[in-house]
């Protein structure tokens, strides 16, 4: 395989989990909720998927990869959604501050991830590293036949199912937001909840649904990382700052899921670029890892300078809406 092929594969590998997180956060932010708990929800999704697979594989003699796959997927979705639900109850029903609640969720979620990741095997009486090889193999299963095509197969078809799911999800999300009645209502809720309320839209319900489903999607990002990227193992803090990269990608994509697809590829590429530039010292490599954030800041500044309405964050992002307080 050529260097470029490997580079693209690696970039996609980095990008997919950011893409899930960004998609979840786009959906959430479109409802006006700025959920800074994305990293937490991704951790929760990752560890839940891993734990489900681990317990399943420990419980049966010969684990079926497919069953493990389904269980892990459901657990990750549920855990991410739980994170979104905690955030929703706090900010929507109990009217707590969005930034603070999100950060608390991140603390909690990372704690849950690292705690269980580090002590799962011990809690269940075993020793050593967690490994869920059978389930991970299902996540890592490449497309048959297509992946055998030279070069093209490597670049396009050599990934597990979650990679394709992320892209399909972006397209579906984009169509949902732009082509359906519900999507229109959701955008109105995020832009101007008072107007949406006057038009008879249940603002609170939309905020809840978007945030909970957004959390579930972010959870898949964590699942991708533990299963396809890490092959069913856990390293504490191995997930790194990918959760914040997902938040950055939302800004970079200017709240559009389709932009997030190529944006995630770009972020992934920037993230590993240092490995492919010859002659870099180890120190300079670290500077290269700064690039996704620097690029995001530049995009943020440019959009505020240009003041183009479509590129701005949803108008009511970060704000509460309560009818009686108008």
């Amino acid at each position: 395989m050529g260097v470029i092929t490997v580079f693209i594969q690696k970039a996609i590998g980095q990008g997919v989990c950011i893409l899930f997180g960004a998609n979840g956060e786009i959906l959430t932010e479109k409802s006006g909720n700025l959920n800074l708990g994305v990293p937490g929800m991704m951790y929760m999704g990752g560890i839940a998927g891993l734990a489900a697979a681990f317990m399943y594989e420990g419980a049966v003699a010969v684990p079926n990869a497919f069953v493990g796959f389904v269980l892990a997927l459901l657990a990750a979705l549920a855990a991410g959604a739980l994170g979104g639900l905690i955030y929703s109850v706090l900010t929507i029903t109990l009217r707590a501050n969005q930034n603070v609640s999100g950060l608390a969720l991140t603390t909690f979620g990372m704690g849950v991830g690292n705690f269980f990741g580090g002590s799962l095997s011990k809690l269940s009486g075993g020793v050593g590293q967690i490994s869920t090889a059978a389930t991970a193999s299902a996540f890592r299963l490449k497309l048959p036949l297509l992946s055998d095509i030279p070069v093209l197969g490597d670049v396009l078809f050599s990934y597990g199912v979650l990679t394709y799911l992320a892209i399909v999800l972006s397209i579906v999300l984009s169509r949902y937001l732009n082509r359906t009645r519900q999507g229109l209502c959701l955008r109105a809720v995020g832009e101007s909840p008072a107007t949406a309320d006057a038009a008879g839209i249940n603002v609170q319900l939309y905020k809840y649904m978007a945030t909970v489903i957004g959390g579930a999607i972010a959870g898949l990002g964590g699942l991708y990382f533990v299963m396809e990227y890490s092959g069913g193992t856990w390293t504490n803090n191995g997930f790194g700052d990918r959760g914040w990269l997902a938040v950055a990608l939302v800004i970079f994509a200017r709240w559009r899921p389709l932009n997030a697809i190529w944006g995630s590829l770009l972020f992934g590429a920037l993230y590993i670029l240092y490995l492919y530039i010859p002659g870099l010292g180890r120190a300079t490599q670290e500077i290269f890892k700064m690039l996704p954030y620097v690029v995001t800041i530049i995009v943020l500044i440019l959009t505020s300078l240009r003041k183009k309405k479509e590129d701005q964050p949803p108008e009511s992002l970060g704000l509460h809406y309560f009818r009686e307080e108008r």
């Binding site: 009645r181 519900q182 229109l184 109105a188 107007t195 949406a196 008879g200």
Partner: protein
């Protein structure tokens, strides 16, 4: 049972606390008719219409729609009855297109076929003569285009009784003509239309009948063809009310402020103040009259350095000191130069005071810069706060109670008390007694008169002509941002001022 009346109101009353906004009002509008509701600010027009559209619920009385009595608790109840109201503040989402705003919240198939929506909108537009681009985003639209979207939104939802609250307030003459043409088409198609306004020429140009309200009471309804500007003015401003407000004669008035040819343009590019000129003298109260939004706010704020001016000059003449030009100065510079200009803004708790802060902190808005480099002096403001409480009889638990918790009258006493405490040379007050009860109002009049006797030049924007006529020495009248006249308050009549207020210089506009 068939009834020709689209809407009939019987004995509708609405109170807000002690204030009676609507007092046993009877009114009807027929299908295929344009009814104008005429009245000054605060006459209860909007409150009345809000009860038809479900924003408020009447305390007493009955509403009939096409002869059947109805209960309207919320806008959701008004929709199925075919009632649609277009408010002064549009409820539209900026980044969405016209078509998306129009269809927002309506049920239907999951997939939104926006082309079909646009086709239906175009059909409606064609039927009534609207000019609308369904795919244009709201933020790219002019005010009149946004208004069109609001009207089409109502029609799209099947409204056949349309209420428009001051629809021409924000429109240019050409846009007004276009709107009127559309409204006539809608009337001819059998819809009932109610338009709230205080512009007489528009009433005469557009409506079939006119209902007049005055201070919450229903005065009467006349056929437009029988009405004249004079007859309507008389109904609208009501009989002269004798007010017992003291008015000392000015003692050696001295020039304090000269405003020359000030023009202001707002963010939307609309001219809000159009070559306004006047002078103000110490020892007199200059009243400023005009219908809401005629440029009063911009006039005061441009003097205070809070609104940028396109052109013109403002000269300030302090006693025994040389004249200073303040037109180029911002509020920051005015306060730095020690120019003794006090300002009681219209938005008391949004600009003049900070609601969640206590009286001491609010006194400090004006004085915190005094004294040394680091420390803010809190002792003098506390003394001032205590002084204001005892002098102006402010009802409050103490100086540390947040001012936002005080009643409207007490809030105003705190604000006026602070502004006059700095011994101003020019004092500007906007709507000083709005929302105040009689006793508090008289306290404010007394304070203004005290300042006048001290030789202060007082500028007082007001909405109640009876008060302005009884309190002021001269009255400047604004209309559409222009000064249409400055009259002697001792000799002028309400009708005279009423005409100046509605005088656009163009007379009644010709039909379509």
């Amino acid at each position: 049972m068939k009834d020709a009346n689209a809407i009939e109101l019987r004995n509708i009353s609405k109170r807000f606390g002690k204030v009676i906004a609507n007092d046993r009002i009877n009114l009807s509008v027929r299908d295929g008719e344009i009814l104008a509701i005429l009245g000054e600010n605060g006459s209860g027009k909007t409150t009345l219409m809000n009860m038809i559209s479900g924003i408020y619920y009447p305390d007493e009385g009955q509403i009939f729609v096409h002869g059947e009595e109805v209960t309207i608790r919320s806008p959701k109840d008004a929709f199925p009855l075919g009632i649609g109201m277009i408010h002064q503040h549009f409820k539209l989402v900026d980044v969405l297109t016209a078509a998306e705003n129009i269809v927002l919240g309506l049920s239907g198939p999951t997939k939104l076929d926006i082309t079909a929506v646009a086709t239906r909108i175009s059909k409606l537009a064609h039927k009534y003569g609207f000019d609308i681009d369904p795919f244009k985003k709201i933020y790219e639209m002019s005010v009149s285009e946004k208004q069109t979207v609001e009207i089409v939104k109502m029609l799209y939802r099947g409204a056949n009784i349309l209420i428009l609250d001051e629809p021409t307030a924000v429109l240019t003459p050409q846009e007004t003509d276009a709107l009127f043409a559309v409204l006539r088409n809608m009337r001819d198609a059998g819809n009932a239309i109610i338009i709230i306004t205080h512009k007489l020429n528009e009433v005469l140009a557009l409506s079939d009948r006119v209902a007049v309200l005055h201070k919450g009471k229903y005065i009467g309804t006349v056929e437009t063809k029988d009405a004249t500007v004079e007859s309507l003015t008389e109904m609208m401003v009501g009989k002269k009310v004798k007010l017992d407000i003291e008015r000392p004669d000015p003692v050696d008035p001295e020039l304090r402020l000269k405003v020359k040819d000030i023009t202001c343009v707002n963010k939307e590019g609309v001219i809000t103040l159009n070559h306004a000129s006047f002078t103000a003298f110490g020892g007199e109260i200059l009243g400023i009259a005009g219908v809401a939004g005629s440029g009063q706010k911009e006039l005061l704020e441009s003097i205070a350095g809070l609104t940028p001016k396109e052109s013109g000059e403002i000269d300030y003449y302090p006693p025994n000191k040389p004249m200073q030009e303040i037109s180029k100065l911002s509020a920051v510079e005015i306060s730095k130069l020690g120019i003794k200009l006090s300002f009681v803004p219209e938005d008391r708790l949004g600009m003049g005071l900070v609601g969640p802060m206590d009286m001491i902190d609010n006194m400090m808005i004006r004085s915190y810069k005094k004294g040394g480099f680091f420390w803010a002096d809190r002792r003098a403001p506390r003394t001032l706060a205590e002084h204001i409480i005892s002098e102006l009889e402010v009802a409050t638990p103490g100086v540390t109670t947040p001012v936002g918790k005080l009643s409207g009258g007490n809030v105003q006493k705190v604000l006026v008390g602070r502004e006059i405490s700095s011994a101003p040379i020019v004092l500007m007050v906007a709507y000083p007694v709005r929302g105040l009860d009689i006793n508090s109002s008289y306290t404010i009049y007394r304070l203004l008169n005290e300042q006048k006797k001290r030789g202060v030049a007082v500028l007082c924007v007001g909405e109640d002509l009876d008060v302005l006529l009884a309190l002021c020495d001269r009255i400047l009248v604004l209309c559409d941002g222009r000064v249409t006249g400055i009259v002697d308050a001792r000799t002028a009549t309400k009708e005279e001022i009423g005409l100046l207020m509605t005088h656009t210089g163009k007379g009644a506009r010709k039909d379509g």
